[in-house]
């Protein structure tokens, strides 16, 4: 297991380097730091000295790849690539364009994001699985047909609508919960209820439909038919055989997105004013803070790869026939 993990992490390295080079190209080669400075300073007729000052302040005054004026190892380290991109590998995110420590901000904003995403995932999973089982129980009847129709309608509704409508009905009309904001500790719960609820409801359409097909696929298997032929009760068939086996694709699918829970939900967080990573990213996009966007791209890629590795491991745990060495 350890050997496998080490090999997978070793394999992930080129991908992270690729991501890094890609973002570097996107941010520094396609657009020069001068362009960035002009954009930040806002005026088209800014003087070259103002641009140079801004660049020096934010560390963009260095050459891109090779610093000829420095000596020794500094010809490589005293460059934008090393200072801004390569340092991401040790999670040294540096300062944002507005001068704040990105690493500190991320560590602070991780938890509110997680406080929304984790309950949404767990509750959503429970709700979706229960509903899917219920529909499968009535398979090939009118109820099944109607439920599928309702599911298609639900998943055709824009996610924005769920958020806007939910906030309007629950917060403004019924005054059940505050519309937006955040608090520390247990006080946060009343701010979290609505985003979590909306997250769950918005996911029902696609989730239940997917899980229903998992269950239906399992229900056509030979061992299920054998169980029925032996006279096993339908409920036992459904819960002991079908449910447990269909859980494998469901859970392995969930494992892949577990690390990304920390990335936060862009829309939900900004709508409800929750200081998580999602709203952090969104603010950075709107303020055109390139340093933060760059850091988040790298962080997202790392978490995605962690998710991939976790998925592989969870497959072997769920299904002993798969060997790590072979995959």
């Amino acid at each position: 297991m350890t050997a496998y993990l080490i090999r997978r992490i070793w394999q992930a390295l080129p991908i992270l380097i690729g991501v890094n080079v890609l973002t570097f190209m996107l941010f520094f080669v396609l657009n020069s730091p001068d362009d960035m400075a002009r954009m930040q300073l806002g005026d088209k007729r800014v003087t070259q000295t103002a641009i140079d000052n801004w660049k020096a302040e934010h560390g963009y005054h260095l050459p891109l790849l090779y610093n000829a004026s420095a000596s020794g190892i500094e010809t490589v380290t005293d460059t934008i690539f090393f200072q801004k991109s390569a340092k991401l590998f040790v999670f040294d995110f540096g300062l944002s364009d507005s001068g704040r420590d990105i690493g500190y901000d991320i560590s602070q904003r991780l938890w509110p994001s997680f406080a929304i995403a984790a309950p949404s995932l767990v509750i959503g999973l429970m709700v979706n699985i229960s509903l899917a089982l219920l529909i499968v129980l009535f398979r090939a009847t009118v109820i099944d047909l109607m439920s599928v129709a309702v599911l298609v309608v639900l998943l055709s509704i824009s996610g924005l609508f769920y958020i806007i409508a939910g906030q309007f009905v629950m917060g403004k009309l019924l005054h059940l919960v505050p519309i937006s904001g955040y608090d520390t500790g247990l006080n946060a719960i009343k701010f979290l209820v609505l985003p979590i609820l909306i997250g769950v409801v918005a996911g029902i359409g696609s989730g239940v439909r997917l899980y229903r097909t998992f269950f239906l696929e399992e229900i056509e298997r030979d061992y299920v038919r054998t169980a029925r032929a032996k006279g096993v009760h339908e409920w036992v068939v459904l819960f002991r055989h079908v449910f447990r086996n269909a859980l494998i694709p469901i859970l392995t699918g969930v494992v892949a997105i577990l690390p990304l829970l920390f990335m936060g939900a862009l829309l939900t967080e900004s709508f409800f004013g929750i200081p998580g990573l999602g709203s952090y990213t969104l603010d950075a996009i709107n303020r055109q803070d390139f340093a933060i966007v760059r850091s988040m791209v790298f962080l997202g890629a790392v978490l995605y790869i962690v998710g991939l590795i976790l998925t592989d491991i969870s497959y072997t745990i769920a299904d002993p026939r798969i060997r790590l060495a072979n995959s």
């Binding site: 080129p14 991908i15 690729g18 991501v19 890609l22 973002t23 996107l26 941010f27 396609l30 657009n31 362009d35 960035m36 002009r38 954009m39 088209k44 298609v152 309608v153 998943l155 055709s156 509704i157 824009s158 996610g159 924005l160 609508f161 806007i164 309007f168 403004k172 990304l260 990335m263 862009l266 829309l267 990213t281 969104l282 996009i285 709107n286 055109q288 390139f290 966007v293 760059r294 988040m296 791209v297 997202g300 890629a301 995605y304 790869i305």
Partner: protein, 459 residues
């Protein structure tokens, strides 16, 4: 009047031509024709297809751009000219659907010099009414009825013509064909098609009649007609939904097939490429790319002739970048499929006979992965339309000056908090988007089932 061809216009029409020629190609090949025959026999698919086509017609009309005079900087589409009255009749600010008066009170100087706070009459909405309080409802009813009669009349003409064609085609007398359609025992569910058409015709004609005299979905903050904006949003939605898949298709097909067919280091490189791209969170990659585009556009403003051209370029770029984030899925699918096909006897036979790789790829592999490509094109559409709204909401979508449902929602985001609340912009954008996405989803479901080999033994 001169024709102006924007890049997305050209691509959109290219796509339509492509689909038509592919239809002709597929009609002569049984393995491609059989699933589609199954699709058009499903009543849900036919109804969904008709609704999608009505969107498509509006979208295509909106994609023929004209410059009305050589000196004019403004570029308008054929669709704009067609509903010119909707485009030009702007009020001052908010007004509710079918309103004759503005939403907010204004200070008005009376004839005798006294100042009063009143709800002023709208300049265009219900302007033909002398006593709006009493006459409005009956006038709306009368106009709607007129529209309905027109719609039914047009519908009857179309239906009779189609049944006549159908009768000729199947060599039946007209009455027999009519009875067959009426009872619903035709191969293609004509009855469902006609009922859907009836609904579309009636709704279309009623709204056309009513929008001559009223703002049927109200007006927005700067007095623009919301109904017109929603209709204009159709083109943007269609462009994003179709062109994105189109621009990513060549790369996905070529790389996917090459990885699966040649294996070895080619496979390694291509796999590395798509794993790297898909490991970047899609929204962030789009955000980064759009930020870069904005930087480029602000610094090179002189490169663009007009605002429309600039907005169009941004739309195309958005399609491109959305395509880059979404081609990896199809590429992976195609690689797997090609790996499987490579082991097929006929490919092995061709290899051992010394047939060139390029011939095997184009003769044996490509035609067999086409169904997969088609399913992806259809399945991705609805997701992309929804994604446009979210991206525009986050300000990394289409140009703010472009009409789109995402921009409508974005600019109306605070309107629900107003007093009295302004709900029509949001509702209209969501409704137009919902109908298109629902129809596309229903259609995609039928297409997927028709192409799924596991479903075929159940039929």
């Amino acid at each position: 009047m001169t024709l102006v061809i924007l890049t997305t216009d050209a691509l959109l029409f290219l796509l339509v031509i492509g689909i038509i020629s592919f239809g002709i190609y597929a009609a002569r090949r049984e393995h491609l024709r059989a699933p589609w025959r199954h699709v058009v026999r499903s009543s849900i698919a036919v109804a969904a297809l008709i609704i999608c086509s009505s969107y498509l017609i509006i979208g295509l009309l909106d994609s023929i751009h004209l410059r009305t005079s050589p000196t004019a900087t403004q570029v308008v589409s054929v669709f704009d000219l067609w509903c010119d009255s909707l485009r030009t009749r702007d009020e001052k600010t908010y007004s509710a659907p079918f309103a004759t008066h503005a939403l907010a009170k204004e200070t008005v100087m009376q004839a005798d010099g006294t100042v009063m706070r009143v709800y002023p009459r709208l300049q265009y909405g219900g302007a033909h009414l002398i006593d709006p309080v009493h006459d409005r409802n009956s006038d709306i009813l009368r106009t709607a009825l007129l529209g309905m009669i027109q719609g039914l009349f047009a519908w009857t003409l179309v239906v009779l013509a189609v049944i006549q064609l159908f009768a000729w085609h199947s060599r039946q007398p007209f009455n027999t064909a009519l009875t067959a359609v009426w009872r619903g025992d035709t191969d293609i569910p004509w009855r469902t098609a006609f009922i859907t058409c009836a609904a579309l015709f009636i709704v279309g004609f009623i709204s056309a009649e009513l929008s001559q005299h009223y703002h049927i979905l109200g007006t927005d903050k700067v007095g623009g007609d919301v109904f017109y904006q929603s209709l204009k949003g159709i083109r943007t939605g269609l462009v994003i939904g179709t062109l994105t898949t189109l621009v990513m298709l060549p790369a996905a097909i070529v790389l996917g097939i090459m990885a699966g067919y040649f294996r070895g280091w080619v496979d390694d490189v291509i796999q590395y490429l798509y794993t790297t791209l898909s490991s970047i969170p899609g929204v962030l990659l789009i955000a980064a790319a759009i930020l870069m585009l904005q930087t480029y556009m602000t610094n090179h403003a002189e490169d663009f002739n007009s605002l429309v051209e600039r907005a169009d370029l941004r739309l195309l770029f958005l399609c491109l970048i959305l395509g880059i984030t979404s081609w990896t899925g199809l590429c992976r699918l195609l690689r797997g499929e090609t790996l499987k096909l490579r082991q097929a006897d006929y490919v092995q036979a061709a290899l051992s006979l010394g047939v060139r790789h390029s011939t095997i790829l184009s003769r044996h592999i490509l035609p067999n992965v086409l169904p997969l490509v088609m399913i992806t094109l259809v399945l991705d559409f609805s997701g992309l339309v929804l994604a446009e709204a979210v991206l525009s909401y986050v300000n990394i979508g289409v140009d703010p000056t472009m009409h789109s449902w995402g921009n409508m929602i974005n600019s109306a985001r605070l309107e629900l908090a107003r007093e009295p609340i302004v709900w029509w912009s949001l509702t209209a954008a969501f409704l137009f988007m919902f109908i298109l996405v629902l129809a596309a989803n229903l259609f995609a479901d039928v297409v997927r089932d028709a192409f799924d080999p596991r479903m075929s033994n159940r039929r």
